[in-house]
Structures are given as structure tokens and as C-alpha cells.
């Protein structure tokens, strides 16, 4: 990947205040094709908040974000309705974002073939996370913003996330992930809050 490429995502001078407390200030970052940035920091330092700002969900107190490409958001909450099954959920979002995704293939890939028709209310924690992760495969979006992507996953699941990330980067995608521990994460750089 060419590091002189146009940045996919740029944040400059980002600062955030939450409840009279300065969470972070003057944060700048640039994400280019193929990069994988890891966000580190103790609990409550503002990783989730920064990711939401980058995704455009939260308005920063200072600074600005420039998005040159669409991005996928994967947060603590999975965005599943209790009555949805992994299959109906993925079908719905595939339709919303433009069709073309092969739902069955995605389900199998994510290890969701068996609980594909179980309502989300009954899914195990890991199955819920896998369903949410599967959304990343429905539409190609160059930037992925992942908040603790390994949470609740078993060893297989964590290896799967690594593979997804590697493939995404190989295709010219980029990502920022907030991660605790997980020394083995295939990162190209990191930022500590």
C-alpha cells in the first residue's frame, strides 16, 4: 500500500469534554488505505467516544473529521432487535445497503449456520457479536471502526476477526480498532489515549 495515498479518514484537533471533564484534546490522526490503527487506553479514557466522533455519530467539542470514504461502525451494542434472527438481520441490511451479498455464505463464514434462525433474544453473547460482525461483509466500505471486536468471541472467532482484518487491508481497506490486551493484533500503528 502506498502511504502517500489520499487519506480515507482524517481527524484534526479533536477534543471532547464529557460532564465538565476533558476526555482528550488535540487529537489528530490520518488513516490511509491498508492501515490498521489500534486505539489503546485504560477504561473510560474515551476510546469509544473518539470512535463515535470519527464515525460521525457524536459531535466533537473541538476539531473536525474529514471522511473521504464510507465507513462501517461496530460498537459495544450490536444493533440487533430481539425478534430478529441472524438471517433476517443480515438480509435486511444487505437490502438496505444494496444487494449482492450472499447471506448464506456470510452466515457460514461467520460460524452462524446453526443459529441462523434463532431469535437474537436467545442467541449467546458470542453469537450476537458474530452477527454484528457479519454486517462488515455485506457491503464493501473502505473504513472500519471497530470497538472491541474480540469481545465475547471464542478462539475461532478471534482468529476469524484477524483473517477478516487482514483481507480487508489487502483489498485496500483501513480500520481503527479499540482493543484491550490482544498483543497479537495485526496493527500498523497505534494511538494511546
Amino acid at each position: 500500500m502506498n502511504s502517500e495515498a489520499v487519506p480515507l479518514l482524517t481527524g484534526t484537533g479533536l477534543g471532547m469534554i464529557r460532564g465538565e471533564r476533558v476526555l482528550f484534546r488535540e487529537i489528530g490522526l490520518t488513516l490511509r488505505a491498508g492501515e490498521a490503527l489500534v486505539l489503546r487506553g485504560a477504561n473510560g479514557t474515551g476510546k469509544t467516544t473518539l470512535l463515535r466522533i470519527l464515525a460521525g455519530l457524536t459531535r466533537p467539542e473541538t476539531g473536525r473529521v474529514t471522511r473521504a470514504a464510507p465507513c462501517h461502525w461496530f460498537g459495544h451494542r450490536e444493533g440487533l432487535k430481539p425478534q430478529e434472527t441472524p438471517r433476517t438481520h443480515l438480509t435486511l441490511w444487505a437490502r438496505a445497503w444494496g444487494p449482492g451479498a450472499d447471506i448464506d455464505a456470510v452466515l457460514t463464514r461467520m460460524g452462524l449456520a446453526r443459529p441462523a434462525d434463532v431469535a437474537a433474544r436467545y442467541l449467546s453473547a458470542g453469537q450476537r457479536r458474530r452477527t454484528a460482525l457479519a454486517r462488515l461483509l455485506l457491503e464493501d466500505r473502505p473504513v472500519w471502526l471497530l470497538d472491541e471486536p474480540y469481545t465475547a468471541l471464542d478462539a475461532d472467532g478471534r482468529a476469524l476477526v484477524d483473517t477478516l482484518i487482514t483481507q480487508h487491508r489487502a483489498k485496500g481497506g483501513a480500520l481503527i480498532a479499540a482493543i484491550h490486551g490482544e498483543a497479537g493484533f495485526p496493527a500498523s500503528g497505534d494511538l494511546t489515549l
Partner: protein, 221 residues
């Protein structure tokens, strides 16, 4: 850009509305229940009932739209779906409108369709006017749902939003309730009332989605 996200939002909300199991039967149960409790409270004098009937139906429609809407956006904010819709690549106002429409279709329209039955229960005389009233109730309840949606979006991140919604939405319901009641009264001034009702519903459909969109962005912040 494309209508696909709107269709998806619409579909998801329909699914949500029907997911309780008995689906559209439930608001009907609510309205039926209210219709039963009211005469229990006020007695069975046919004249009183006939006078009160249409008004009670409007109130029941308003209240059941509140009950239906309470959780629409609050649930979206809590389970993370709102974040996804804000990034779905379609105007948030259009998505909010699609969701509201879906809920109206599954909880508002059936109530309107059953209104002649309920009117008969309130000792109204069987007449073609009852069928005209179905249209009026349908129009009016559409406005109720849109204004209720604004209230629901505003209180999406607040606990006990339901009651806050009622506080916000009830004043907005007033014009609709007045024009609706007027149109059915057959009294003086009732000829223009259906038009006024339609106009106020149109106004709701035109304005409410933008208010909802702004409130939803706030809820995700």
C-alpha cells in the same frame, strides 16, 4: 439516493410491530378495552353514549398511538440500531418517516378500520357516515402517529419516555382532535372540517420527519 434503506427501515419496523405475536390484534384489544371501560364508568344511557362515542374514539386513537410509539425510537437508541440507521446512507428524516408509517400501518390503520364496529357499540345508528368516518379516523391517526413520533424521538434517551412523550405530543394532537371531532359532529362549520383535518395531517407529515431527524441525531450523540 436510493429507496433501499427506506424500504428496509419500513420492513424492520413492520417486523418489530408484528413481532409481539398477535401483532395488529393487540392495539385493537387496547382500543376495545378502552371502549368497554368507558361505558362501564359512565353508564349505558344511549343518548349520552351516542354523544360521547366519537370523542372517546378519538381519544382512544390518540392514546393508543402513544402507547404504540413509546418504544419505537427508544428501543433503537438502546440496542444500537439507531447508530446503524444514522449511517445507512439515506436522509434520516426519510427513515424516520418510513418507520412511523410502518407503525401507523400496523397499529393505527386497523383501529380506524374497526371504528364503525366500535361506533355501533356506542349506539350509533348504522349509516354510510360511519364509513366516511373511517377515512377521517385514518387521516387523523396518521397525524397522531407523526406528532407522537416527534415526542418519541425527543424522549428516546430518557427513562420513562412514554409519559414525557404524552406531555410533548398531546398539545400537538389538539388541532387534529378538534378538526376531527368537528368533521364528525355534523354541526355548523363541519363542512370545511375534513379539509382542515387533511391539511393539518399534511402539515404533520411534512414537518414532523425533520423534527424527528434532528431529535434522533441528538439521541445518538
Amino acid at each position: 439516493m436510493t429507496a433501499a434503506p427506506l424500504l428496509s427501515a419500513f420492513r424492520q419496523s413492520l417486523g418489530e410491530a408484528w413481532a409481539g405475536g398477535a401483532g395488529a390484534l393487540l392495539p385493537l384489544g387496547f382500543l376495545g378495552g378502552a371502549a368497554v371501560l368507558v361505558p362501564l364508568g359512565i353508564g349505558s344511557d344511549a343518548d349520552t353514549l351516542r354523544a360521547v362515542g366519537p370523542g372517546i374514539l378519538w381519544v382512544a386513537l390518540a392514546l393508543s398511538s402513544l402507547v404504540t410509539l413509546e418504544r419505537i425510537f427508544q428501543a433503537d437508541a438502546e440496542d444500537g440500531t439507531l447508530d446503524l440507521w444514522l449511517q445507512a446512507g439515506a436522509p434520516v428524516s426519510a427513515i424516520a418517516a418510513a418507520k412511523t408509517l410502518a407503525h401507523w400501518l400496523s397499529a393505527g390503520l386497523p383501529l380506524a378500520l374497526f371504528s364503525p364496529l366500535l361506533a355501533l357499540m356506542f349506539q350509533a345508528e348504522a349509516s354510510p357516515a360511519l364509513l366516511v368516518n373511517v377515512g377521517l379516523y385514518a387521516l387523523g391517526s396518521l397525524a397522531f402517529f407523526f406528532w407522537g413520533g416527534v415526542g418519541a424521538a425527543l424522549s428516546a434517551t430518557v427513562r420513562r419516555g412514554g409519559l414525557l412523550i404524552s406531555l410533548i405530543a398531546l398539545p400537538l394532537y389538539v388541532p387534529t382532535a378538534i378538526f376531527g371531532a368537528l368533521a364528525m359532529s355534523g354541526g355548523p362549520g363541519s363542512t370545511g372540517a375534513p379539509l382542515l383535518l387533511a391539511a393539518s395531517t399534511l402539515f404533520a407529515c411534512a414537518v414532523a420527519p425533520y423534527a424527528m431527524a434532528a431529535a434522533l441525531r441528538l439521541a445518538a450523540d
